[in-house]
Symmetry: D3
Subunit: 136 residues, 6 copies
Amino acid sequence: MPSLVSFTYSINPTDMSIVHDFNEYRERMNVRLLAHENRTLKRFWSLDASAYEEGVLDRRTKEMLGLVSSMVLRCDDCIRYHLGKCHAEGLTTPELMEIFAIANLVGGSIVIPHTRRAMEFWEALENESARDSSGK
Amino acid sequence: MPSLVSFTYSINPTDMSIVHDFNEYRERMNVRLLAHENRTLKRFWSLDASAYEEGVLDRRTKEMLGLVSSMVLRCDDCIRYHLGKCHAEGLTTPELMEIFAIANLVGGSIVIPHTRRAMEFWEALENESARDSSGK
Amino acid sequence: MPSLVSFTYSINPTDMSIVHDFNEYRERMNVRLLAHENRTLKRFWSLDASAYEEGVLDRRTKEMLGLVSSMVLRCDDCIRYHLGKCHAEGLTTPELMEIFAIANLVGGSIVIPHTRRAMEFWEALENESARDSSGK
Amino acid sequence: MPSLVSFTYSINPTDMSIVHDFNEYRERMNVRLLAHENRTLKRFWSLDASAYEEGVLDRRTKEMLGLVSSMVLRCDDCIRYHLGKCHAEGLTTPELMEIFAIANLVGGSIVIPHTRRAMEFWEALENESARDSSGK
Amino acid sequence: MPSLVSFTYSINPTDMSIVHDFNEYRERMNVRLLAHENRTLKRFWSLDASAYEEGVLDRRTKEMLGLVSSMVLRCDDCIRYHLGKCHAEGLTTPELMEIFAIANLVGGSIVIPHTRRAMEFWEALENESARDSSGK
Amino acid sequence: MPSLVSFTYSINPTDMSIVHDFNEYRERMNVRLLAHENRTLKRFWSLDASAYEEGVLDRRTKEMLGLVSSMVLRCDDCIRYHLGKCHAEGLTTPELMEIFAIANLVGGSIVIPHTRRAMEFWEALENESARDSSGK
């Protein structure tokens, strides 16, 4: 009998695949969901995207707000999404650490496991961009 | 050193196994838990089952209530359980989409990742019943 | 020195004022918020209203979904809002009790205090409509 | 026009009334709810009460577990209920402080306002029992 | 028999008192809690304060992060605390609206009632500073 | 195309690896996070550890408080951490069941899937210590 265990960790060949797998799954399922043409769902998702556009607050600040909210609500996939956006906006690792610190204090020690997973995803994003800029 | 990553996705040979694996794990661990004969736990679980029985509200409505509650509380396994029940009660995909829409609006964008996973499980349920009715 | 205490209960002359006060405050503050013309907020609120419109699921079912979601998320004002809508859709008290039961089982004993407050609001809605239909 | 403000604090003549008002409201609404004879609700509430009875863990430990759970879930009325029970079980203020500390660390700074309200209720319980034992 | 109703609204003579009452209660209860000299609690609260100090992110950004986190976690008192800090940091009302919009989308319609109460508190802060600067 | 499914279960060769993998991942990512020398994060984590030290409440009671809090907040990794500590403190399986019962009643049926995963981790801890004491 296979021992099915309740674990959220699995083995991936490279760090890079975390970013790729997350994006691939997210896009594929979004397509399937939107194919059913539910108008409310469609409008909500498009509204969600538009909320982070440049306004009186810039995109970078808004993505930080999205990230910290996702952390205190402990939504790993939301965290990954906003980490990707924050990375694209040029957030630095020391800045990220200050967001982690606020999320941990506001949301408590239950945020710690999500912080570990966020760190791993951030490192994958950093590795990916290091490799891209090194000409690979 | 194996790269253990914090990912909730793993590779399964077929869509069908999502439904099977979920049910198998759920039943196996329930048996182990109930073996310890804690009376409160036992009564709570049996009470939980009875709450969805036909009353002044029918089972179909009650399963929809269970599903939307599980979605806004972002409990993937609870969502899977109620998706199975809703499917058995003949819920249609357009009806499901309207439940998804309400869950997304009430619970916010943090419900989106759970909606994607719910969609995948629903498709597996649909595929399974299509195959069953096609004579396999 | 006045003894300011952290209590959510205050004295109101009549039950009727619960419904009136809730609606008055809600509408007044909505007007003030929308006056600032934030486009995302405006669209989100209008989208939220449209999600409960008749679709493949009827309004009555959708309002029940809104109510149970609000209960498990323990949002008293959201509960009051959907209780008002459910009452207008003709939900009966025994049906309400079954929604309360599911909300209590899914969300646990922390839902109980919100159930008490929901009951009080529901009774105020019932009293109000009894008085209205008796010719006052 | 009356200025209705969204405040959870109101003025009470004495600290003692916090305890009395809480108990009075709780009992009154429980009676009204149970009058509707919903069997699931009735059984859930009775099961909830029985969970804190002496078992392999004593009542005192169980009430501490109920209190800390209520604090991290930020349910003021649940906190008040378990504070009353913990007080009856002879919990000391330094013990209470250690429960507060764990609740604050696990649940984060959002637990702080609930800790303030818990402190006020605890002081009311202490004052009440001091007065009772002083012969009043 | 007094009609004790489960309402979070009470009547205050002036808007100004919202800010004053909040600060007064908060400070008074903090003093009482810290008087018990629980070292963990003391260190947690002091750590919480230090997290919002100028770092690689400025205080203004950090207070916005604290505000949005408090909104999605639906902690009214935490929202009030950070609104006070954001106001002191010169946050403008259109900026506040964009924070409200993100909080509403991330956390869903259950954040709306907290947004209304946040608006009322913000207006009280604005009125207070208008009066102060007008020479009162 | 690989079928990436949203499942939290994966196949592990032995039960023992659940405990090992959890600890290995946790320690490795903690090291990476703390390497960035964010002072607030560092102090919060050290404070979190110190909260469970012997005080007026003993370590065993405190670990039970940490466990039940983690369960009602539905944080699987936090549950695993405190299960490890409770096991080291000599908690018995019948005592664990009573903690499970309270967590289920306070937090509702959404706690059930976390209870199943907790049970599996507990059995792995039990197996591991049985093997250790049998001279392996």
